[in-house]
Protein backbone atom coordinates (compact mmCIF):
# COMPACT_ATOMS: atom_id res chain seq x y z
CA UNK A 1 0.00 0.00 0.00
CA UNK A 2 1.47 3.37 -1.00
CA UNK A 3 2.32 5.55 2.00
CA UNK A 4 2.08 2.74 4.51
CA UNK A 5 5.77 2.78 5.51
CA UNK A 6 5.86 6.44 6.52
CA UNK A 7 2.52 6.04 8.27
CA UNK A 8 3.70 3.04 10.30
CA UNK A 9 7.04 4.66 11.17
CA UNK A 10 5.29 7.82 12.40
CA UNK A 11 2.77 5.88 14.49
CA UNK A 12 3.23 6.48 18.23
CA UNK A 13 2.62 2.75 18.72
CA UNK A 14 5.44 1.74 16.37
CA UNK A 15 7.71 -0.42 18.57
CA UNK A 16 11.00 1.35 17.83
CA UNK A 17 11.85 2.70 21.26
CA UNK A 18 10.72 6.26 20.52
CA UNK A 19 8.50 6.55 23.55
CA UNK A 20 11.49 6.87 25.91
CA UNK A 21 12.80 9.98 24.11
CA UNK A 22 11.45 13.47 24.74
CA UNK A 23 13.63 15.43 22.30
CA UNK A 24 14.90 17.73 25.04
CA UNK A 25 11.44 18.42 26.41
CA UNK A 26 12.14 16.81 29.79
CA UNK A 27 15.14 19.07 30.34
CA UNK A 28 13.14 22.13 29.25
CA UNK A 29 10.37 21.19 31.68
CA UNK A 30 12.78 20.64 34.56
CA UNK A 31 14.22 24.13 33.93
CA UNK A 32 10.77 25.69 33.87
CA UNK A 33 11.14 26.71 30.21
CA UNK A 34 8.07 24.75 29.17
CA UNK A 35 5.16 24.66 31.57
CA UNK A 36 2.03 25.23 29.49
CA UNK A 37 0.46 24.58 26.11
CA UNK A 38 1.67 27.99 24.88
CA UNK A 39 5.27 27.50 25.89
CA UNK A 40 5.14 23.98 24.46
CA UNK A 41 4.06 25.39 21.10
CA UNK A 42 7.09 27.70 21.01
CA UNK A 43 9.40 24.85 21.92
CA UNK A 44 7.96 22.59 19.22
CA UNK A 45 8.14 25.27 16.53
CA UNK A 46 11.79 25.90 17.33
CA UNK A 47 12.58 22.21 17.31
CA UNK A 48 10.74 21.67 14.03
CA UNK A 49 12.67 24.41 12.23
CA UNK A 50 16.06 23.22 13.45
CA UNK A 51 16.41 19.57 14.46
CA UNK A 52 13.27 18.74 12.46
CA UNK A 53 14.60 20.32 9.27
CA UNK A 54 17.97 18.60 9.54
CA UNK A 55 16.32 15.22 10.15
CA UNK A 56 13.84 15.77 7.29
CA UNK A 57 16.56 16.72 4.81
CA UNK A 58 18.66 13.66 5.66
CA UNK A 59 15.64 11.35 5.53
CA UNK A 60 14.71 12.74 2.10
CA UNK A 61 18.30 12.41 0.88
CA UNK A 62 18.42 8.76 2.00
CA UNK A 63 15.37 7.71 -0.04
CA UNK A 64 17.05 7.54 -3.46
CA UNK A 65 20.00 5.65 -1.97
CA UNK A 66 17.74 2.67 -1.29
CA UNK A 67 15.00 3.20 -3.88
CA UNK A 68 16.83 1.05 -6.45
CA UNK A 69 16.52 -1.91 -4.13
CA UNK A 70 12.89 -2.68 -3.23
CA UNK A 71 12.03 -4.83 -0.24
CA UNK A 72 12.00 -8.50 -1.15
CA UNK A 73 9.17 -9.00 1.28
CA UNK A 74 10.22 -12.47 2.31
CA UNK A 75 13.94 -12.97 1.80
CA UNK A 76 17.12 -11.36 3.02
CA UNK A 77 19.05 -12.45 -0.04
CA UNK A 78 20.23 -9.87 -2.50
CA UNK A 79 18.13 -10.08 -5.67
CA UNK A 80 20.13 -9.99 -8.92
CA UNK A 81 20.17 -6.99 -11.28
CA UNK A 82 17.95 -4.64 -9.28
CA UNK A 83 20.20 -4.38 -6.27
CA UNK A 84 23.81 -5.08 -7.06
CA UNK A 85 25.48 -1.82 -6.17
CA UNK A 86 26.34 -2.38 -2.53
CA UNK A 87 29.56 -0.35 -2.66
CA UNK A 88 27.85 2.71 -4.07
CA UNK A 89 25.01 2.36 -1.59
CA UNK A 90 27.41 2.06 1.34
CA UNK A 91 29.58 4.98 0.37
CA UNK A 92 26.52 7.17 -0.09
CA UNK A 93 25.19 6.17 3.35
CA UNK A 94 28.65 6.75 4.86
CA UNK A 95 28.71 10.25 3.43
CA UNK A 96 25.23 11.06 4.81
CA UNK A 97 26.13 9.54 8.18
CA UNK A 98 29.23 11.73 8.49
CA UNK A 99 27.40 14.88 7.36
CA UNK A 100 24.59 14.30 9.86
CA UNK A 101 27.13 13.73 12.67
CA UNK A 102 28.72 17.06 11.78
CA UNK A 103 25.34 18.78 12.03
CA UNK A 104 24.64 17.34 15.49
CA UNK A 105 27.13 18.99 17.85
CA UNK A 106 25.66 17.49 21.01
CA UNK A 107 26.97 14.00 21.71
CA UNK A 108 23.77 13.30 23.63
CA UNK A 109 21.68 14.08 20.55
CA UNK A 110 23.87 11.93 18.34
CA UNK A 111 23.41 9.11 20.83
CA UNK A 112 19.63 9.65 20.95
CA UNK A 113 19.43 9.53 17.15
CA UNK A 114 21.47 6.34 16.98
CA UNK A 115 19.49 4.75 19.82
CA UNK A 116 16.25 5.38 17.94
CA UNK A 117 17.78 4.18 14.68
CA UNK A 118 18.95 0.99 16.31
CA UNK A 119 15.54 0.40 17.90
CA UNK A 120 13.74 1.13 14.66
CA UNK A 121 16.08 -1.21 12.79
CA UNK A 122 14.95 -4.18 14.86
CA UNK A 123 11.30 -3.57 13.96
CA UNK A 124 12.07 -2.64 10.37
CA UNK A 125 14.06 -5.81 9.64
CA UNK A 126 10.97 -7.85 10.46
CA UNK A 127 8.66 -5.74 8.32
CA UNK A 128 10.74 -4.65 5.29
CA UNK A 129 13.59 -7.12 4.83
CA UNK A 130 16.06 -5.68 2.34
CA UNK A 131 19.80 -5.92 1.68
CA UNK A 132 19.85 -2.11 1.80
CA UNK A 133 19.47 -2.40 5.56
CA UNK A 134 22.66 -4.46 5.65
CA UNK A 135 24.43 -1.77 3.66
CA UNK A 136 23.28 0.88 6.13
CA UNK A 137 24.36 -1.24 9.11
CA UNK A 138 27.73 -1.88 7.45
CA UNK A 139 28.35 1.87 7.69
CA UNK A 140 27.44 1.95 11.39
CA UNK A 141 25.78 -0.79 13.49
CA UNK A 142 23.52 1.87 15.03
CA UNK A 143 22.32 3.94 12.08
CA UNK A 144 21.03 7.46 12.55
CA UNK A 145 17.24 7.47 12.70
CA UNK A 146 16.60 9.82 9.72
CA UNK A 147 18.85 7.74 7.46
CA UNK A 148 17.03 4.57 8.41
CA UNK A 149 13.59 6.11 7.89
CA UNK A 150 14.70 7.36 4.47
CA UNK A 151 16.10 3.94 3.58
CA UNK A 152 12.86 2.20 4.56
CA UNK A 153 10.71 4.66 2.64
CA UNK A 154 13.01 4.06 -0.35
CA UNK A 155 12.64 0.28 -0.31
CA UNK A 156 8.89 0.69 0.24
CA UNK A 157 8.66 2.85 -2.90
CA UNK A 158 7.73 6.10 -1.21
CA UNK A 159 8.95 9.48 -2.43
CA UNK A 160 11.47 11.60 -0.43
CA UNK A 161 8.72 13.96 0.74
CA UNK A 162 7.00 11.18 2.67
CA UNK A 163 10.21 10.31 4.52
CA UNK A 164 10.81 14.00 5.27
CA UNK A 165 7.25 14.46 6.55
CA UNK A 166 7.55 11.35 8.74
CA UNK A 167 10.70 12.47 10.60
CA UNK A 168 9.68 16.13 10.76
CA UNK A 169 6.41 15.07 12.35
CA UNK A 170 8.21 12.76 14.78
CA UNK A 171 10.50 15.65 15.74
CA UNK A 172 7.47 17.36 17.30
CA UNK A 173 5.02 14.53 18.08
CA UNK A 174 7.52 12.81 20.41
CA UNK A 175 8.11 15.87 22.61
CA UNK A 176 4.38 16.69 22.50
CA UNK A 177 3.54 13.26 23.89
CA UNK A 178 6.25 13.65 26.53
CA UNK A 179 4.68 16.97 27.56
CA UNK A 180 1.33 15.29 28.12
CA UNK A 181 3.02 12.71 30.32
CA UNK A 182 5.32 15.07 32.24
CA UNK A 183 3.05 18.08 32.71
CA UNK A 184 -0.38 16.52 32.55
CA UNK A 185 -1.34 18.98 29.83
CA UNK A 186 -4.76 18.64 28.21
CA UNK A 187 -4.15 16.07 25.43
CA UNK A 188 -6.73 17.72 23.16
CA UNK A 189 -4.99 21.08 23.44
CA UNK A 190 -1.60 19.48 22.75
CA UNK A 191 -2.99 17.63 19.76
CA UNK A 192 -4.41 20.91 18.45
CA UNK A 193 -0.93 22.44 18.75
CA UNK A 194 0.46 19.70 16.53
CA UNK A 195 -2.19 20.40 13.92
CA UNK A 196 -1.52 24.15 14.12
CA UNK A 197 2.09 23.38 13.23
CA UNK A 198 0.85 22.01 9.90
CA UNK A 199 1.92 24.96 7.69
CA UNK A 200 5.36 25.09 9.34
CA UNK A 201 5.66 21.35 8.88
CA UNK A 202 4.86 21.61 5.19
CA UNK A 203 7.41 24.34 4.63
CA UNK A 204 10.07 22.26 6.42
CA UNK A 205 9.17 19.27 4.21
CA UNK A 206 9.35 21.41 1.06
CA UNK A 207 12.72 22.82 2.05
CA UNK A 208 14.04 19.36 2.92
CA UNK A 209 12.92 17.88 -0.39
CA UNK A 210 14.34 20.69 -2.48
CA UNK A 211 17.67 20.48 -0.62
CA UNK A 212 17.86 16.69 -0.78
CA UNK A 213 19.03 16.60 -4.38
CA UNK A 214 22.11 18.69 -3.61
CA UNK A 215 25.50 17.25 -2.59
CA UNK A 216 25.23 16.09 1.02
CA UNK A 217 27.71 18.73 2.17
CA UNK A 218 25.14 21.34 1.08
CA UNK A 219 22.23 19.90 3.08
CA UNK A 220 20.67 22.34 5.56
CA UNK A 221 22.51 22.91 8.84
CA UNK A 222 20.42 25.18 11.08
CA UNK A 223 21.74 25.39 14.61
CA UNK A 224 19.80 25.24 17.88
CA UNK A 225 22.42 25.88 20.57
CA UNK A 226 19.93 25.86 23.45
CA UNK A 227 18.60 22.46 22.40
CA UNK A 228 22.16 21.19 22.04
CA UNK A 229 23.12 22.42 25.50
CA UNK A 230 19.96 21.13 27.14
CA UNK A 231 20.40 17.70 25.55
CA UNK A 232 23.90 17.57 26.95
CA UNK A 233 22.83 18.79 30.38
CA UNK A 234 20.09 16.17 30.46
CA UNK A 235 22.60 13.33 30.48
CA UNK A 236 25.49 15.06 32.23
CA UNK A 237 23.69 16.67 35.14
CA UNK A 238 20.83 14.25 35.54
CA UNK A 239 22.85 11.07 35.51
CA UNK A 240 21.49 9.04 38.40
CA UNK A 241 18.91 11.68 39.31
CA UNK A 242 15.30 12.19 38.40
CA UNK A 243 15.10 11.30 34.76
CA UNK A 244 12.19 9.59 33.05
CA UNK A 245 13.33 9.87 29.45
CA UNK A 246 16.50 8.75 27.71
CA UNK A 247 16.74 12.12 25.92
Amino acid sequence: MPGLASLVLADARFPGGGHVHSGGLEEAVSRGLVSSVDSLEGFLLGRLRTAGLVAAAFAAASVPVSAHCPSSGTSHSRPPLTCDDADVTRSRFAELDAELEARTPSAAQREASRAQGRGTLRAVRAAWPSPVLDDLVAVHPRPHHPLLVGAVCGVAGEPPGEAARCVAYLAVSGPASAAVRLLGLDPFAVNAVLVRLGPALESVVAEAVSAAGAPSSDLPAPGAPVLDLMAQAHVDQHRGRLRLFAS
Binding site: P15, G16, G119, A123, R241, L242, L244
Partner: protein, 247 residues
Protein backbone atom coordinates in the same frame (compact mmCIF):
# COMPACT_ATOMS: atom_id res chain seq x y z
CA UNK B 1 -9.80 -37.68 8.23
CA UNK B 2 -8.82 -41.10 9.58
CA UNK B 3 -10.50 -42.24 12.74
CA UNK B 4 -7.37 -42.49 14.86
CA UNK B 5 -6.74 -38.76 14.73
CA UNK B 6 -7.87 -37.03 17.87
CA UNK B 7 -6.57 -33.60 16.99
CA UNK B 8 -7.11 -31.29 14.07
CA UNK B 9 -4.77 -30.40 11.30
CA UNK B 10 -3.86 -26.83 10.49
CA UNK B 11 -5.10 -25.19 7.32
CA UNK B 12 -2.03 -26.36 5.40
CA UNK B 13 -2.47 -29.95 6.49
CA UNK B 14 0.52 -29.95 8.86
CA UNK B 15 0.27 -31.24 12.36
CA UNK B 16 -0.12 -28.42 14.85
CA UNK B 17 1.06 -28.56 18.43
CA UNK B 18 -1.52 -31.18 19.30
CA UNK B 19 -4.03 -28.87 20.96
CA UNK B 20 -7.33 -27.62 19.68
CA UNK B 21 -7.35 -23.87 19.47
CA UNK B 22 -9.70 -22.45 22.07
CA UNK B 23 -11.33 -19.09 21.77
CA UNK B 24 -13.01 -19.44 25.13
CA UNK B 25 -12.10 -16.25 27.01
CA UNK B 26 -12.70 -17.89 30.38
CA UNK B 27 -10.17 -20.64 29.79
CA UNK B 28 -6.94 -20.05 31.68
CA UNK B 29 -4.90 -23.08 30.69
CA UNK B 30 -1.14 -22.56 31.06
CA UNK B 31 0.69 -21.57 27.90
CA UNK B 32 1.70 -24.90 26.37
CA UNK B 33 3.99 -23.38 23.76
CA UNK B 34 7.67 -24.05 24.21
CA UNK B 35 9.91 -21.16 25.25
CA UNK B 36 11.67 -19.38 22.38
CA UNK B 37 14.83 -21.11 21.15
CA UNK B 38 17.89 -20.36 23.22
CA UNK B 39 20.37 -19.68 20.39
CA UNK B 40 23.23 -19.38 22.82
CA UNK B 41 21.88 -16.34 24.60
CA UNK B 42 21.13 -15.95 28.28
CA UNK B 43 17.82 -17.08 29.74
CA UNK B 44 15.69 -13.98 30.36
CA UNK B 45 13.33 -13.85 33.30
CA UNK B 46 11.03 -10.88 33.83
CA UNK B 47 10.08 -9.81 37.35
CA UNK B 48 6.99 -7.61 37.49
CA UNK B 49 4.38 -6.47 39.97
CA UNK B 50 2.82 -3.45 41.67
CA UNK B 51 4.82 -0.66 43.28
CA UNK B 52 6.37 -1.64 46.59
CA UNK B 53 5.63 -5.37 46.32
CA UNK B 54 9.30 -6.24 46.72
CA UNK B 55 10.60 -6.74 43.19
CA UNK B 56 13.96 -5.10 43.83
CA UNK B 57 14.38 -6.96 47.12
CA UNK B 58 13.68 -10.24 45.31
CA UNK B 59 16.18 -9.40 42.57
CA UNK B 60 18.77 -8.54 45.23
CA UNK B 61 18.10 -11.81 47.07
CA UNK B 62 18.41 -13.81 43.85
CA UNK B 63 21.58 -11.98 42.89
CA UNK B 64 23.09 -12.80 46.29
CA UNK B 65 21.99 -16.43 46.39
CA UNK B 66 22.63 -17.30 42.72
CA UNK B 67 25.40 -14.86 41.84
CA UNK B 68 28.25 -17.23 42.59
CA UNK B 69 26.74 -20.19 40.77
CA UNK B 70 25.20 -18.50 37.74
CA UNK B 71 26.68 -15.86 35.42
CA UNK B 72 23.88 -13.33 35.77
CA UNK B 73 23.08 -9.68 35.11
CA UNK B 74 20.12 -7.40 35.82
CA UNK B 75 18.16 -4.82 33.82
CA UNK B 76 16.10 -2.41 35.92
CA UNK B 77 13.17 -0.30 34.69
CA UNK B 78 12.57 1.96 37.65
CA UNK B 79 10.26 4.75 36.53
CA UNK B 80 12.40 7.22 38.41
CA UNK B 81 16.05 7.47 37.53
CA UNK B 82 18.36 4.61 38.29
CA UNK B 83 17.20 4.13 41.86
CA UNK B 84 16.86 0.37 41.65
CA UNK B 85 20.16 -0.01 39.86
CA UNK B 86 21.84 2.14 42.51
CA UNK B 87 20.31 0.02 45.25
CA UNK B 88 21.74 -3.13 43.71
CA UNK B 89 25.15 -1.54 43.20
CA UNK B 90 25.29 0.23 46.56
CA UNK B 91 24.52 -2.94 48.44
CA UNK B 92 27.30 -4.62 46.50
CA UNK B 93 24.84 -7.29 45.45
CA UNK B 94 26.16 -7.05 41.93
CA UNK B 95 29.16 -5.23 40.52
CA UNK B 96 28.15 -2.14 38.52
CA UNK B 97 28.96 -3.68 35.17
CA UNK B 98 26.29 -6.33 35.75
CA UNK B 99 23.43 -3.81 36.16
CA UNK B 100 21.87 -1.76 33.35
CA UNK B 101 19.09 0.76 33.96
CA UNK B 102 16.65 1.90 31.27
CA UNK B 103 14.38 4.93 31.16
CA UNK B 104 10.78 4.16 30.33
CA UNK B 105 9.37 7.60 29.42
CA UNK B 106 6.77 7.49 32.21
CA UNK B 107 5.34 4.24 30.85
CA UNK B 108 6.83 1.20 32.59
CA UNK B 109 4.30 -1.19 31.07
CA UNK B 110 4.99 0.07 27.55
CA UNK B 111 8.70 -0.64 27.99
CA UNK B 112 8.12 -4.29 28.87
CA UNK B 113 5.15 -5.04 26.63
CA UNK B 114 4.26 -2.77 23.67
CA UNK B 115 7.67 -1.38 22.81
CA UNK B 116 10.43 -3.52 24.28
CA UNK B 117 13.25 -1.80 22.39
CA UNK B 118 14.91 -0.03 25.34
CA UNK B 119 15.03 -3.28 27.30
CA UNK B 120 16.32 -5.33 24.35
CA UNK B 121 19.06 -2.74 23.87
CA UNK B 122 20.04 -3.01 27.54
CA UNK B 123 20.15 -6.82 27.33
CA UNK B 124 22.23 -6.63 24.15
CA UNK B 125 24.64 -4.25 25.90
CA UNK B 126 25.09 -6.68 28.78
CA UNK B 127 25.43 -9.73 26.51
CA UNK B 128 28.00 -7.99 24.33
CA UNK B 129 29.94 -6.72 27.35
CA UNK B 130 30.37 -10.18 28.84
CA UNK B 131 30.76 -12.11 25.60
CA UNK B 132 33.73 -9.94 24.70
CA UNK B 133 35.16 -9.95 28.21
CA UNK B 134 35.50 -13.59 29.20
CA UNK B 135 34.15 -15.36 26.16
CA UNK B 136 31.70 -17.26 28.34
CA UNK B 137 28.74 -14.95 28.11
CA UNK B 138 25.83 -14.60 30.49
CA UNK B 139 23.56 -17.46 31.54
CA UNK B 140 20.75 -15.44 33.10
CA UNK B 141 19.38 -11.91 32.74
CA UNK B 142 16.76 -10.75 35.23
CA UNK B 143 14.60 -7.92 33.85
CA UNK B 144 12.91 -6.03 36.67
CA UNK B 145 9.96 -3.92 35.55
CA UNK B 146 9.10 -0.58 37.05
CA UNK B 147 6.33 -0.78 39.62
CA UNK B 148 3.05 -0.87 37.74
CA UNK B 149 -0.47 -2.19 37.99
CA UNK B 150 -2.07 -5.60 37.79
CA UNK B 151 -2.46 -5.48 34.01
CA UNK B 152 1.27 -5.27 33.25
CA UNK B 153 2.87 -8.32 31.67
CA UNK B 154 6.14 -8.86 29.86
CA UNK B 155 6.20 -9.43 26.13
CA UNK B 156 7.24 -12.93 25.06
CA UNK B 157 9.57 -11.12 22.70
CA UNK B 158 11.48 -9.79 25.69
CA UNK B 159 11.58 -12.60 28.27
CA UNK B 160 11.41 -16.40 28.27
CA UNK B 161 9.54 -16.57 31.58
CA UNK B 162 8.06 -14.12 34.04
CA UNK B 163 7.56 -13.85 37.77
CA UNK B 164 4.78 -11.63 39.11
CA UNK B 165 5.28 -10.33 42.65
CA UNK B 166 2.41 -9.17 44.85
CA UNK B 167 2.58 -8.57 48.57
CA UNK B 168 0.49 -9.26 51.59
CA UNK B 169 0.39 -5.60 52.61
CA UNK B 170 -1.25 -4.71 49.28
CA UNK B 171 -4.40 -6.46 50.54
CA UNK B 172 -5.50 -10.07 50.46
CA UNK B 173 -7.99 -9.36 47.64
CA UNK B 174 -5.20 -8.80 45.10
CA UNK B 175 -5.01 -12.37 43.75
CA UNK B 176 -8.81 -12.44 43.42
CA UNK B 177 -8.72 -9.32 41.25
CA UNK B 178 -6.71 -11.30 38.74
CA UNK B 179 -5.38 -9.43 35.74
CA UNK B 180 -2.89 -10.88 33.29
CA UNK B 181 0.07 -10.63 35.71
CA UNK B 182 -1.57 -12.71 38.46
CA UNK B 183 -3.37 -14.99 36.02
CA UNK B 184 -0.71 -15.85 33.45
CA UNK B 185 2.76 -15.26 34.95
CA UNK B 186 4.87 -18.41 35.00
CA UNK B 187 5.36 -17.93 38.73
CA UNK B 188 3.32 -15.89 41.21
CA UNK B 189 5.16 -14.79 44.34
CA UNK B 190 3.14 -13.61 47.34
CA UNK B 191 5.68 -11.57 49.26
CA UNK B 192 6.07 -10.24 52.82
CA UNK B 193 4.14 -13.07 54.48
CA UNK B 194 5.64 -11.95 57.82
CA UNK B 195 3.41 -8.87 57.65
CA UNK B 196 0.15 -10.83 57.34
CA UNK B 197 -0.81 -10.66 61.04
CA UNK B 198 0.05 -6.95 61.17
CA UNK B 199 -2.14 -5.93 58.24
CA UNK B 200 -4.92 -8.41 58.89
CA UNK B 201 -4.35 -10.31 55.66
CA UNK B 202 -5.67 -13.85 55.42
CA UNK B 203 -2.99 -15.99 53.79
CA UNK B 204 -5.44 -18.79 53.14
CA UNK B 205 -7.64 -16.42 51.15
CA UNK B 206 -4.66 -15.17 49.15
CA UNK B 207 -3.20 -18.56 48.28
CA UNK B 208 -6.64 -20.11 47.75
CA UNK B 209 -7.69 -17.37 45.32
CA UNK B 210 -4.32 -17.50 43.57
CA UNK B 211 -4.45 -21.27 43.06
CA UNK B 212 -8.06 -21.14 41.89
CA UNK B 213 -7.32 -18.44 39.33
CA UNK B 214 -4.00 -19.88 38.16
CA UNK B 215 -4.87 -23.55 37.86
CA UNK B 216 -1.65 -25.54 37.62
CA UNK B 217 0.68 -22.54 37.47
CA UNK B 218 2.89 -22.34 40.59
CA UNK B 219 2.46 -19.97 43.54
CA UNK B 220 5.20 -19.33 46.10
CA UNK B 221 4.66 -17.48 49.38
CA UNK B 222 7.75 -16.00 50.93
CA UNK B 223 9.15 -13.60 53.47
CA UNK B 224 12.57 -12.19 52.73
CA UNK B 225 12.82 -11.31 56.42
CA UNK B 226 12.59 -14.99 57.29
CA UNK B 227 14.49 -16.27 54.24
CA UNK B 228 16.78 -13.54 52.86
CA UNK B 229 18.04 -15.90 50.16
CA UNK B 230 14.59 -16.33 48.51
CA UNK B 231 15.34 -20.06 48.45
CA UNK B 232 12.17 -21.32 46.80
CA UNK B 233 12.17 -18.75 44.03
CA UNK B 234 15.89 -19.36 43.50
CA UNK B 235 15.19 -23.08 43.09
CA UNK B 236 12.46 -22.30 40.55
CA UNK B 237 14.88 -20.12 38.57
CA UNK B 238 17.58 -22.81 38.66
CA UNK B 239 15.03 -25.36 37.47
CA UNK B 240 14.17 -23.08 34.53
CA UNK B 241 17.84 -22.81 33.68
CA UNK B 242 18.35 -26.57 33.90
CA UNK B 243 15.29 -27.29 31.76
CA UNK B 244 16.54 -24.92 29.14
CA UNK B 245 20.03 -26.41 29.04
CA UNK B 246 18.55 -29.89 28.68
CA UNK B 247 16.16 -28.82 25.93
Amino acid sequence: MSGDHTHQHGPTGQHGHGHLVSFDPTESEPDHHAAPPAQGRALRIGIGGPVGSGKTALVAALARSLGERVRLAVVTNDIYTTEDADFLRRNAVLPPERVEAVQTGCCPHTAIRDDITANLDAIDTLEERFASRDGQGLELVLVESGGDNLTAVFSRGLVDAQIFVVDVAGGDKVPRKGGPGVTTADLLVINKTDLAPLVGADMDVMTGDARRIRGELPVITQSLVEDPSAGEVGAWVLDRLATRVAA
